[in-house]
Subunit: 333 residues, 2 copies
């Protein structure tokens, strides 16, 4: 049986952090054995709200690639590609823009929320408004069966499948393929300050590439139960980011249960719990960090990974574009 | 001194008619000796409001090419190209979309008028709304100095030059070049029914490829002075399409002046004036028609004209895209 195709990826706007690891990187490392997995470094999409800062996007292509390799994404098993290096995606986007109304784009709940968050209002760049159409081009170009997304991204999948149905209907073809969203079963990891979102701008993220000292400093500064003032006080485990992180990363589940009971009862200081978390994170991060340093010394290898991945990806996107052009009768010669 | 570059072209949505001849084709034939002239068959733009009818667009690429060659556009002097075969244009459009706000696009007077005419309203396809950005990509990709336009198209040139200035400012470059609109000094030719616009949908056009019989029939059916009922009545020359056409195509200016005076005085029937117009049009159209028939028998030559023109054009658009990517720091490898 043919392997199913997954399309996933990241905007190269910053190094990847523990939230990415739990939410997606770990799964990609597992999935690469059983699926035909394409991992897209979405620089074109990153530019839609970073167009005035292309150096940031450029630098982070390298950082994100290092993050991928250091967590165990294997370029022999997964195809890592750079979005802007696939001209077919621009062309597909253009054709799909004819199949989507302005009213429909303006109704997209994800984009609406993001527009509000970014305060675009009257200065909304058209490139940002239409990025769901560009995503539809990405997904359909690879004929992805599965697209891992967060719940807030479901409208993107709907938009893609609408375009697929409209295209296939108008051009009387079965060229394009509907995809299925794969919702993460893991809760999103909170920031070190307890904020529901972890991110660079919030300054509450632990990066996969943070040094041992940075990890220590960040964990020691983490929010805990604000009512847990003295060691002897009983503490709350729920909503306590330190325990949330232990839950996510500590493999000694029995030990963790005991720790939680002790904390709830009182007599267990935050510093001790944090020391355990530091140890757990170091067990995870030190081999990642080591591999990252090794790969960072091989710029030629990194370059080769991206060039070769993009080359392999283009074989797929070119084939899809050929079929699309044929369906649209644009195959003149 | 270097020749200046002109970008011009047509949407392949129908055969070209006398209005096109007077308004642009004639000038292109002159300009090709003194300018570096690119003539774009804008199929991608045609699809923005004909996306459900790609066969029409496809068929008319051939028709328009035949029209070009038969009026004397020389592929050795002018570069004829097919828009969809230049992938660089799609990519440039995508980057420019980040530099234009939705509010700005919605203010474009030309697009506003067209949206109203086409009755798009709530079903406005995004592809149609953004076509001025795609035009900016066309113009800047060729670094056109001059763009021949009608007065109603001036907002398109403004939009292009805004994008040029914004791009050059944001990316601290001088890569993109502002262009200059060249306004036609010829009044637009009315339809045979006196309607200010000549067009297929109005069924009031005389095509360059019409047969002698069709031309005769269309001229004999032309509107004249509605008050000129009997031969002996004085007739009006102004606003009389038959005289408008004579003005545009009759090279015997003295003879025409006499005719006009006679018509004004009375005693000259419409049929006689129309017969003169038929003769004048036949003098123009019969060699065009003859050449058209010759070229129509050489599909390989036509194909070669478009492939070779597009190949030459791509050298230019690829160079521009390389420069754009460098300015945007997208030249990763």
């Amino acid at each position: 049986m043919n392997k199913k195709t997954i399309l996933t990826g990241d905007r190269p706007t910053g190094r990847l952090h523990l939230g990415h690891f739990v939410g997606s990187l770990k799964k990609r490392v597992e999935a690469q054995n059983d699926f035909n997995q394409f991992i897209m470094i979405a620089d074109v999409q990153a530019l839609t709200d970073n167009f005035a800062n292309p150096q940031k996007v450029r630098d982070n292509i390298n950082e994100v690639t290092l993050d991928y390799l250091s967590v165990g994404i294997d370029p022999q098993k997964s195809t890592i590609l750079v979005q802007s290096m696939l001209p077919e995606l621009f062309e597909l986007t253009t054709y799909y823009l004819n199949l989507v109304t302005l009213a429909r784009l303006q109704r997209n709940p994800t984009v609406k929320t993001e527009i509000a968050q970014k305060g675009f209002d009257k200065s909304l760049p058209v490139g940002f408004l239409v990025y769901p159409v560009s995503q539809a081009a990405d997904i359909t170009a690879f004929k992805a069966d599965l697209v891992p997304v967060g719940e807030d991204q479901l409208p993107m999948i709907e938009q893609t499948n609408e375009i697929v149905r409209r295209f296939n209907h108008i051009y009387q073809t079965e060229t394009l393929k509907e995809c299925e969203a794969v919702l993460s079963d893991v809760r999103r990891l909170s920031g070190t300050d307890g904020n529901a979102k972890m991110g660079k701008s919030l300054n509450n993220a632990i990066y996969l590439s943070d040094s041992e000292e940075e990890v220590k400093r960040k964990v020691m500064g983490m929010m805990t139960d604000p009512a847990h003032l003295r060691v002897e006080d009983p503490g709350k485990v729920e909503g306590n980011p330190v325990f949330e992180y232990l839950e996510a990363f500590d493999n000694d589940k029995t030990g963790l249960e005991e720790l939680k009971n002790h904390y709830r009862k009182g007599g267990l200081g935050d510093v001790e719990v944090k020391k355990r978390l530091i140890k757990v994170l170091e067990d995870l991060l030190s081999p990642i960090r080591e591999r990252r340093q090794e790969f960072a010394q091989k710029p030629d290898f990194l370059r080769e990974v991206l060039l070769e991945g993009t080359r392999k990806a283009r074989l797929v996107t070119q084939k899809t574009l050929d079929e699309v052009r044929e369906a649209m009768k644009l195959n003149y010669f």
